[in-house]
Amino acid sequence: MARHVIAAVDELPPGTRKFLEIDGRPIAVFNIKGEYFGLMNRCPHQGAALCEGPLIGLAQSSTPGEIEYTKLGEIIRCPWHGWEFDIRTGQSYCDPRRFRVKAYPAHVEPGASVVKGPYVAETIPVRIESDYVVVEL
């Protein structure tokens, strides 16, 4: 695994997402209420750009007539066929045995602890003090 600087923290505020490609792999990184999540931006079902879908909750029913709606904003719904995946685990909730989307760990590291790539150097040099969002893959 290599670490990739993909954005300064203040470039990716809560409620936003960033699309990028690393080594030919389409990735999206989300900031959900201060937590960061990275996902492969390709639905394992038919290959749609999964991360362009809305973030919804998980509707479940333990017994008919009772519905629980949990994981608010943590379920990504594919823009094509509506397949639902848990953004924390990549787990599909419709047919978990068959489909799971690749999840990439994303976290924040202090700016000084990683070597900054050309993107950072070229485009946001004034933010050298800021922390950067890093993706591992």
Partner: protein, 369 residues
């Protein structure tokens, strides 16, 4: 180590040349509410502004069931210049036609003048949509072919529209929807089949439409998913009616295309029809041959949304009954239940069948060289 990151530019440049396909179900949309006005007489423009359109359904506007995605379409299919999904030729080229190497794309406009209770308005809107298909789509991209939409509840004006367009190479079929006021084999629709047969054009029957009836034969269901599944039931009723009213017998050169309603049910419907026909033949003496024969000889099927059984052998068994020469690949772009060309057909299909499925059958049926 750290690796250089660049904004994604590769999606467009990394295209590999794919095998050519036909897409037999593409839905072009209007970018604006008034986009058809240049093709409508002032009288009808005024009518739309003052009175609006009233379909054969209880609700004033909208489809019989709400949809699961905006405009029932892919969320990634909004054109960058604005407008609803499917309303931009350049974006359709960029998102669908070019990357998938679509050699033949058949346009099936859905929200036209079909199913409208004012039959004169219905005919005027359908004719306008036919002009619009040429102006906005087929004249600007030769891969695209149009469908003649007709005022379905008035067979005579529908037939007149078909005759007016006959021979125009912009059009490759006549388009009906599956939900009509009566089952599609009824006499009121015969002029449509007669005119299509004369013109040498197949008649496509696409799921949806407005007939005032629920999607199921047992009442109004609760959920959109029941409408999605109900398209098959609805299409089965339409096909049974076509067979049993003797439409295929009366118009032996008529070719019908069942669009977006599945095909897995075809063998069981045909078997049941055959069985009943053997016992009740004297009720319908105009049906001279077993129903399955008409279905196998005069009916084609678009694939999307493809049946996806757990065992691919089950799919192959159904296709074997229907015939590999009868399936027409379709994506349903830009609708949300789009089928991705590279992902629908399981492994284990011969090269010849694969070619027929993706391209050959469509070119042959629609007369494209």
């Amino acid at each position: 180590m750290n690796i250089q990151f660049r904004e994604s530019q590769e999606a467009a440049s990394s295209l590999t040349v794919k095998t050519a396909i036909a897409d037999c179900d593409i839905h072009p949309a209007r970018a604006t509410r008034t986009e058809l006005y240049p093709y409508l007489a002032k009288r009808w423009q005024h009518h739309l502004e003052v009175y609006g359109v009233h379909a054969y359904q209880g609700m004033m506007e909208g489809p019989p069931y709400p949809k699961a995605q905006p405009n029932a379409s892919r969320r990634d299919a909004y054109p960058p210049e604005g407008g609803p999904q499917g309303s931009s030729l350049s974006f359709m080229q960029q998102q669908l036609l070019d990357p998938n190497n679509v050699q033949l794309g058949v346009l099936n406009p859905l929200n036209t003048g079909q199913g409208i209770r004012n039959h004169e308005l219905s005919a005027a809107l359908c004719s306008a949509v036919n002009d619009w298909q040429i102006d906005k789509w087929t004249s600007k991209d030769k891969r695209l072919k149009a469908s003649i939409v007709v005022g379905n509840e008035d067979g005579l004006s529908a037939a007149a529209e078909i005759r007016e367009r006959a021979g125009d190479k912009n059009f490759v079929q006549v388009l009906l929807l599956s939900r009509n006021v009566e089952p599609l084999g009824q006499r009121r629709y015969w002029p449509i089949y007669q005119a299509a047969e004369e013109a040498g054009l197949p008649v496509g029957v696409h799921a949806f439409g407005f007939g005032g009836n629920p999607i199921t034969p047992s009442g109004w269901p609760s959920y959109y998913i029941e409408e999605m599944v109900g398209h098959s039931q609805c299409q089965q009723s339409a096909l049974a009616s076509l067979v049993l009213e003797g439409v295929f017998e009366r118009f032996p050169k008529l070719r019908m295309v069942m669009i977006e309603a599945g095909f897995g049910w075809a063998p069981s419907l045909a078997w049941r029809l055959d069985k009943a026909w053997q016992r009740l033949r004297s009720e319908v003496p105009h049906v001279k041959r077993p129903p399955s024969e008409y279905i196998r000889e005069q009916v084609w099927w678009t694939t999307q949304p493809m049946e996806d059984p757990e065992r691919r052998e089950d799919l192959f068994d159904v296709i074997k009954w229907i015939g590999w020469d009868r399936l027409l690949f379709a994506t349903d772009y830009p609708h949300w239940d789009y089928d991705e060309p590279s992902r629908v057909l399981p492994a284990g299909v011969s090269e010849a069948n694969r070619e027929a499925f993706y391209l050959g059958n469509a070119k042959k049926l629609y007369g494209i060289s």
